[in-house]
Amino acid sequence: MSALLFLLTVGFSGPSTDVSATGMGFRMLQQPPVRLDSTYGCLACHADKRASFNQGVHSERGIKCVNCHGGDPTATVLPAAHRGQFVGSPDKVATVALCGSCHSDPNAMRQYGLPSGMVAEFQTSRHGILLLQRHDENAPTCIDCHDAHTILRPDDARSTVYPTNVPQTCGRCHEDQALMAPYGIPTDQVEKFTRSAHGIALLDKQNFAAPTCLGCHGSHSALPPATKELASVCSRCHVQVGREFEVGPHGQAARDGELAGCLGCHSNHDTEKVQATQIAVTCSKCHAPGTRAQTLGEAIQEDVIQAAQDLQAAAAAVAEVARAGRQTGDMEFRYQTARTAYLQINQVQHHLDADRLEELTRRVRSISRDLRATAEATAERNWEHKLWLVPVWFLTLSWVALSWLALRRMERAGTRP
């Protein structure tokens, strides 16, 4: 009887017990109403887990408290409820095994299309080595990145592993200086990432093709890429640049371990560009002045700046002609050709192939000159319009003058009485 009364109270108190989670009103609107299973005993005491009981993938699949924690869900009072194979709160190492009991089973995961190698991957990761081999309690377990109870799909915007939430999730530990001090790793990665090209694309432009932390480090097998792996990691997305880099002299140097892959010229978390005017300076970090390599660097810098200026001039020419009212379809087509060559320059400079660079630069330049000439011809034609003023005013003034003379003559002759 008392148990029934309790359940009624729980039922009427509404779903808003879990205020701590997020903006409650928002969640209530977003979620289907909480359906209380009055036969489920755990909720009699663990009222704060009711939201998790109803939300997320586990709830949808019928995975309830008992599946992970054991005990007797039919009981509503204490000694009885925590009887049976009661697990309680597993420690960090046990958590890995607990999650793995289902998630490492290919037969269980197949129906959901989920990978089953996550625990195996975790064991190879820095996190896994620290936790499982060295029993370092600072290392994260499954529930430090994923919520323990409310398991949301990765494409749910509230999930901790939703792409735009990943930097924050990693930053929870990796931005903590005290926590990171024993491992001697920096804590500014998230800050740098946020203002990098990757971070701007992901966070500001919501471009999910851009990498999160996981894009380069992996998720369950999280490790910083080794020096020799670097070029492979970057060229997963930067395919053409990677290909050019691999066949060039720097690619060989990277394979020999003499060059830190892409990091030889670029940086990692803030992914700094080498500006066109900084190419030669960047080369001089390794190559002494006057050497063949440094001279090549200066030549590349010259080509790239030249091509950028030519491309700009081409764009200005097209815009100018458009302003003058002419249709610019063919000009735009040629501009795209120039732009393609210009983009190829960005790739080819990673090969350090001066001949091809020069050829591409020449192509941009030639198209740019053509477009410039078209724009100038248009401007000239518009200027020639003004020449019409000469015959117009010559005829007007002479006709007015003749009329005036004729009028005066007629009036003198007495046509006007």
Binding site: C237, H238, V239, Q240, V241, K273, V274, Q275, A276, T277, V304, I305, A308, Q309, L311, Q312, A315, A316, V318, A319, A322, R323, A324, G325, R326, Q327, T328, M331, E332, Y335, R339, Y342, L343, I345, N346, Q347, H385, K386, W388, L389, V392, W393, T396, W399, V400, S403, W404, A406, L407, M410, E411, T415, R416, P417
Partner: protein, 412 residues
């Protein structure tokens, strides 16, 4: 060497002699000489008589250069008809094709640029000249009976001119035209009772769209010309019946003392007309209307260019005096138009009719002042763009300055 010249001279002499030998006035003789008039028709219809009568017609002695304004307005109207017909040959009134067809007119059609800009400039000058014509009539108190009907027809003609301008404004179908018309229709919609209904009919869609363009095009080239021609016919008919109002100091008209219509008055008209034409062409060549960017209903531009005098004036009014200033100035215009209904006195000296003079001065000089002010605002930045966007480049996104673009192409 002198053989062809002698031939031509003898031919010309013969021609002049034939012309002089014909009993009729020069023009008729010329028509008959070239076979344009055929003897029996000429004899049975009083064409001969009618033409001779109109050529021998004498104007009132007080008709001077200041009376040319109405004629110039008519000349500009005819110029708009001619250039408009030429434009409509190439213009395509659909949301997709309107702007490209104007690009084609400006860049691909022989003298298309000139025809279009003459049309645009005539539209502005027509409003100015019509108002100047009105001002002359107003200050001379020529709207008094028996000419009050003609004043009211003139006011209706002004309305038609404004309607031509408004409907023509959208046809350019660039960002400036599109958003000016959008703004104007939105403002008009605020008028109680009639606003919503009228704008609904004019716009034909929840926003300005291809449906609006079709309606405005139909109004501009099919509906309004009929009104214009009918009103013009009536205007001229009444002018011939009542004559040009005499100045205040002598009320009687003595037509026998006036200037001959042919050739004196015709020559004077020719001088004025050709000068007006040269001015229009000069303005069109020196200050062509920019083509702008094709209308984009989803993007409010940061700046809107005004290309018609009435838009300049409205903009200056709204910018400097707000919506109430605009309403009051419009009321002043309406008062001016309706004045002949109330002002039935005989006093014509400006100093002795201060109320009318004040209204006239305020409106006409206000209009010209606001035009000058509005031209300064031509590319005024919109006060509150509802969406924060800039006008995109018409064709492409040009690369940004050297340093920021160099490496942007590494990734697809």
């Amino acid at each position: 060497m002198s053989q062809p010249w002698t031939n031509m001279k003898s031919w010309l002499t013969q021609f002049a002699a034939d012309l002089r030998a014909s009993t009729d006035a020069g023009l008729l003789g010329l028509a008959r000489y070239f076979g344009l008039l055929y003897g029996p028709i000429d004899a049975s219809l009083p064409i001969d008589q009618a033409l001779r009568k109109s050529l021998r017609y004498r104007l009132a002695p007080h008709v001077g250069w200041r009376h040319a304004l109405g004629g110039i307005a008519y000349l500009l109207f005819l110029l708009m008809v001619v250039t408009g017909v030429l434009l409509v040959v190439y213009y395509r009134p659909s949301a997709q094709e309107a702007f490209p067809s104007i690009q084609h007119i400006v860049s691909g059609v022989t003298l298309g640029w000139l025809i279009r800009d003459v049309h645009v400039w005539s539209a502005s000058l027509l409003v100015i000249v019509v108002l100047a014509h009105m001002a002359r009539v107003f200050f001379a108190a020529a709207y008094r009976p028996p000419r009050e009907t003609n004043w009211l027809i003139g006011v209706l003609l002004l309305v038609v001119v404004l309607a031509f301008g408004i409907t023509g404004y959208l046809l350019a179908w660039d960002q400036s035209a599109y958003w000016t018309v959008t703004g104007a229709l939105n403002a008009f919609e605020e008028i109680p009772l009639i606003g919503g209904l009228t704008v609904g009919l004019l716009r034909g869609d929840p926003i300005v769209s291809g449906a609006t363009l079709s309606r405005f095009f139909a109004g501009h080239v099919v509906i309004l010309p009929w009104f214009a021609m009918a009103l013009l016919g009536f205007h001229f008919r009444l002018l011939r019946r009542h004559g040009v109002a005499p100045p205040s100091d002598h009320d009687t008209m003595t037509t026998s003392q006036g200037r001959l219509f042919f050739p004196n008055h015709l020559l004077r008209s020719f001088m004025v007309g050709i000068l007006a034409l040269a001015i229009v062409i000069t303005l069109a060549i020196l200050f062509p209307r920019p083509l702008g960017v094709q209308a984009q209903p989803g993007q409010v531009p940061v700046t809107i260019l005004s290309t018609w005098v009435v838009v300049d004036v409205s903009r200056a009014l709204v910018y400097y005096t707000g919506g109430w200033g605009f309403a009051l100035f419009s009321l002043l215009g309406l008062l001016l138009a309706a004045l002949p209904l109330f002002d039935r006195g005989t006093e014509r000296d400006l100093r002795r009719r201060p109320a009318a003079t004040a209204i006239g001065l305020a409106f006409f000089f206000g209009f010209f002042g606001l035009w000058v002010a509005g031209r300064g605002l031509r590319t005024a930045v919109l006060e509150r763009p509802s969406i924060e966007v800039s006008i995109p480049d018409p064709t492409i996104q040009p690369p940004s300055p050297v340093d920021s673009v160099i490496n942007d192409g590494g990734r697809p």
